[in-house]
Amino acid sequence: MIEAGLTIPVVVLLFAGVADVGRSFRYYNQAVSAARDAAQLVFNNYATYIGSGNDSAITSAVASESGALAGTVTRFYTCPNANGDDGSAQYKTPQGCSNQRVYVRLTAKAPFTAVMTHSAQVSSAAVMRVQ
């Protein structure tokens, strides 16, 4: 009885932790799929979503693609060198350089209620070149 009293709480905590980790993996995979699908959606509809400069349309598309997940969209620009290498500089605004590249970063967030910590959130991001 004493042994059971000592070990059962440990085992229960262990299983609760495993359940939370398992659920976080599940939601993370959902976020990854959403980010990937949304990136392809935006890429395939570049003229509609990006070319128009309509960020709210992009956000709606991401939210629609990712179901109940929250999606955010940001874009950045790079100026590749003579070899076509971006380097490490990202710009928030168009630079007007020759061969400028345009990237869109789509983030899908999946909040969920955890057993151990009440609330948690996992997210996944995809960066897609669109121009």
């Binding site: 059971a4 070990t7 262990l14 980790v21 897609m128």
Partner: protein, 143 residues
């Protein structure tokens, strides 16, 4: 009814059994956690490979700059997605096919393990591939 001698011989037998079960449970939980982390890495790597293939294929379009730029563009896109060639045990291999106007990207990362490390497996390879084609005007990911 049990004699007091038999009861004495069984005294304390639950604790070792529970200890063994707990160790087995912890090891199994560890394997599940490691498998989950590897699955996560695979998901992110596939995103990076897809993005890299499309970014590279855009340089194979008529308005693009050719294969050297395609390779760099693909590696850049992979890096923006967290998979930089040569960093964190990651290898990004980009193979343009100029005649077919396609570009293949393979990302390989030796992902660190946590619990499997105790069993001697320090890393596990995560390998993903994506192929994109460049038609006359657009680059398209081949699913």
């Amino acid at each position: 009814m049990l004699s007091s001698g038999r009861r004495d011989s069984e005294r304390g037998s639950v604790l070792p059994a529970l200890a063994v079960m707990t160790i087995i449970s912890v090891l199994m939980a560890g394997l599940v956690v490691d498998a989950g982390f590897l699955q996560q890495q695979r998901g992110q790597a596939q995103i990076a490979a897809d993005a890299a293939a499309v970014a590279g294929a855009m340089e194979l379009l008529p308005a693009g700059k050719g294969s050297a730029w395609a390779v760099n563009a693909a590696k850049n896109a992979s890096a923006w997605n967290g998979f930089t060639n040569g960093a964190n045990n990651t290898t990004v291999t980009v193979t343009p096919n100029l005649s077919a106007k396609t570009l293949t990207v393979q990302i390989r990362r030796n992902a660190k393990t946590y619990f499997m490390n105790m069993l001697g497996l320090r890393s596990m390879p995560v390998v993903v591939t994506a192929v994109a084609g460049a038609s006359r005007q657009i680059a398209q990911l081949n699913q």
